[in-house]
């Protein structure tokens, strides 16, 4: 009940911001919403299920390209591309997770890291150039507000992203509170005991990974709509690492954590780049290590602990 209320308040504040923030701020807030969805996907698999993915940027890229290709080549309306991205990303997530997840935790980290490093190269490859546009990328038209609503395109994509985020956060919250969420955490905390109580560990890991890829893929789709452009070099391994950093800073095994993490990775680079082009990387790195030592449950976990005065769940 408390969580639902907090969620409602957050949504109301977010919606009202659409009418007061400047266009630039609105773009940043839209980015926060999108990153929050992407990190939510990562939180499901890494935070709740304990499977470390260093390659979620790849699913983000697939989502973005699915939307870009469908809207630019097949004239599919932008909102209708989201379910397609979801299905495609879930399928790819299932296939990638299948071999790696049968084995111990580090193998998935290794495989997904390799996937993230290889992604730009795959997107540039000439066999796919007809669809992906190769190095050039694809331009995506920014949608106008429907039904003659008296708002501009930026406000509309912001509200649209907020709506998608609200739905996905509500669904994810339900998922982790229920039977499936308990099973996910059981697999993370003690796979052997989970297996003994009748949970099919391998199947659960693979399905969680697929769901997580689905959520992050939808974020990628939204990013293509908002940025209006996709190109291979926007999806390097550093995108995956940035999402991972956001997850750790926000709080891995929490539903609110991804929102804090998304704010962090959206606003920090702006501030830090005034110092140097390399500064965001150094600060990310230092903070990642600092959080591992001082606040392993992230900002959300720390707030939770302050609130409840009891140990927060460990990632």
């Amino acid at each position: 009940m408390r969580d639902t209320l907090i969620g409602l308040v957050v949504v109301i504040i977010a919606v009202s911001l659409a009418f007061v923030a400047s266009d630039y701020r609105l773009f940043q807030l839209t980015t926060v919403a999108i990153y929050a969805i992407a990190i939510l996907g990562l939180a499901l698999v890494t935070g709740y299920n304990g499977q470390i993915s260093l390659g979620h940027g790849a699913f983000y890229a697939v989502g973005a390209y699915v939307t870009a290709i469908l809207t630019s080549m097949y004239d599919v309306p932008y909102w209708a591309t989201l379910p397609v991205s979801a299905v495609v990303c879930a399928a790819i997530g299932f296939l990638v997770g299948l071999p790696a997840l049968r084995l111990g935790g580090l193998y998935l980290a290794l495989t997904t890291f390799a996937l993230a490093v290889a992604t730009p190269q795959l997107l540039k490859h000439k066999a796919l150039e007809h669809w992906t546009g190769g190095v050039q990328g694809i331009v995506v038209d920014k949608p106008d507000a429907p039904f003659g609503l008296p708002i501009n395109a930026d406000q509309w994509v912001y509200l649209f992203s907020i709506a998608v985020a609200a739905v996905l956060f509500a669904l994810a919250g339900n998922l982790v509170r229920g039977r499936i969420g308990r099973a996910m955490r059981a697999v993370r905390d003690n796979a052997l005991a989970a297996e003994a109580t009748g949970i099919d560990v391998a199947l659960f890991k693979t399905r969680t990974f697929a769901v997580s890829a689905l959520v992050t893929g939808i974020a990628g789709s939204l990013s293509a709509i908002v940025v209006g452009f996709v190109s291979p070099d926007s999806f390097t391994v550093f995108l995956s690492i940035t999402l991972f950093t956001g997850l750790v800073v926000g709080g891995a095994a929490t539903i609110a954590g991804p929102i804090f993490g998304a704010m962090f990775i959206t606003f920090l680079p702006n501030l830090a780049e005034q110092v140097s082009k390399a500064a965001p990387g150094v600060i990310y790195g230092v903070l990642l290590i600092a959080f591992m030592f001082l606040l392993p449950a992230g900002v959300a976990g720390g707030l939770n602990r302050l609130h409840r005065r009891r140990p927060a769940p460990q990632p």
């Binding site: 390799a114 290889a118 190269q121 490859h125 000439k126 230092v286 990642l288 030592f293 990632p315």
Partner: protein
């Protein structure tokens, strides 16, 4: 045929680099069950140190030795300061630290030394050797790699310290009871791994040019090599590294082209995990529950 031979020899040369980095990864994995995602960036950073020294007028081999020593200290310090306190924490904690280190080294290198490609000197100059198939640098790098690998093998096989390190990796608690300082052994292992990585970095830099992202591809091939040979087996990692070098060059020339070389590493990793996750030389680990 000449082209094939050329690719094969080039493959063996780059395979030596991958074998060294794979060995560094496996050494750390054996001792701590961590995969050091920052191994490549540490090597890249060491290579920049060497370049700064050489540009300051230090002779190549002196700079080489200083770099190896500095890297050793760097690796050992990282282990003591950052990883010892996290022993027994969840995997996420160590992966977080490694990714943090990767970011710090990568960005710091860009910050301190710039993002432009830099030429790195080689001590092996001259006309192509062996019937014109091999550049002197490739041959020299291969010899250096072999010397390093043999030295590491001999160190672990014939010295008391090497034996103590193996013991500490194999069974930490019994080793501690035998009077081996397990923490010091781990730091030593990290230092050695960082030194091996630094040598690999200095050997690969003249070929691919030096920039902050120089090692990301090499690290990926080293991962593939380590998995192919068996991530818990040093000899396997070396053989796997050489195999990956040869596969990469031959496949790059005849099968997939240069644009998909990194994807090839991904495919090999996935294939090994699907077919034989323990690797060619690895034993399947059976644990009692």
């Amino acid at each position: 045929m000449d082209g094939f031979l050329h690719q094969l020899l080039a493959g063996i040369a780059s395979g030596g680099i991958y074998a060294s980095v794979a060995l560094a990864l496996v050494m750390i994995f054996q001792a701590t069950h961590h995969v050091n995602f920052a191994q490549g960036e540490m090597a890249m950073f060491s290579t920049y140190i060497a370049l700064v020294l050489i540009q300051a007028g230090v002779p190549y081999w002196v700079a080489f030795a200083i770099t190896v020593a500095v890297s050793f200290v760097m690796g050992a310090v990282i282990q003591r300061v950052l990883l010892t306190p996290l022993a027994g924490s969840p995997v996420l904690a160590s992966v977080g630290v490694f990714i943090g280190l990767l970011l710090i080294f990568n960005s710091a290198a860009g910050w301190l030394f710039g993002y432009t490609l830099k030429q790195f000197p080689t001590p092996f100059d001259g006309p192509p050797v062996m019937g014109g198939f091999v550049t002197p640098h490739d041959l020299g790098a291969f010899v250096v790699t072999l010397v390093v690998l043999t030295a590491v093998w001999a160190f672990f096989r014939f010295t008391t310290l090497g034996l103590a390190m193996r013991a500490a990796a194999y069974n930490p608690s019994s080793s501690r009871l035998m009077g081996i300082r397990v923490g010091a052994m781990l730091a030593l292992g990290w230092g050695l791994a960082a030194s091996i990585g630094a040598i690999a970095g200095m050997m690969v830099a003249p070929v691919v040019f030096l920039d902050p992202n120089m090692m990301s591809g090499v690290l990926l091939y080293a991962f593939a090599g380590a998995l192919l040979g068996g991530i818990a087996n040093p000899l396997g990692a070396v053989v796997g590294g050489f195999a990956i070098g040869i596969i990469e060059n031959l496949a790059g020339a005849y099968l997939v082209g240069n644009e998909l070389k990194l994807t090839l590493a991904l495919v090999i990793i996935v294939a090994v995990l699907m077919v034989k996750p323990a690797g060619i030389f690895g034993r399947t680990i059976v644990s009692r529950v």
